[in-house]
Subunit: 99 residues, 2 copies
């Protein structure tokens, strides 16, 4: 399992089609073999956080390299994001409640 | 480095001293050797997410085992949280923009 932690801030002048593109990327990700889950969160200061789980690092790499996703990543850097930080993480331990 | 991903939902009847206890735990965590960062986020459906970074797995274990934190964890399970899921993760890769 890998957990992708994607923290971002949009530019004030981000193009208006960002939500549609994000929605399209989410539907592509969901269709990706090894996709497990997606959820988005927001901090009080406006920072966005997306958590995406994949079955394996290979599945995450395939998603990273998806051609349409690559184009979206390029637009992300050029047009949408003031900043982002992406961490591809491996869970070492997990606890749940109730167990 | 380790990243702790703590997702939770409070009980509807969680005691009113939860915010003070959470604040106290955050100040203890910040004082912990190896503490790096903390930030909290919220999903539209009310799920809470806290991201905590430590320099090492050892630092995270020491925080997990801190006696006052242990007591708070016990209250968390008994009184505060309807559910939670904690993942202690190791970053495999990281990307930032701007680089």
């Amino acid at each position: 399992m890998v957990v992708v932690v994607f923290r971002s801030r949009l530019r004030a002048d981000a193009p208006a089609d960002y939500p549609q593109l994000a929605e399209r990327m989410l539907s592509l990700a969901r269709a990706q073999p090894g996709f497990r889950s997606f959820k988005s969160f927001r901090a009080e200061d406006g920072e966005r956080l997306s958590l995406i789980e994949f079955e394996s690092e290979e599945a995450e790499r395939a998603w990273r390299d998806h051609p349409e996703h690559r184009l979206a990543q390029r637009r992300g850097r050029a047009e949408f994001y003031a900043e982002y930080r992406l961490q591809v993480c491996e869970p070492l331990r997990e606890r749940r409640h109730p167990g």
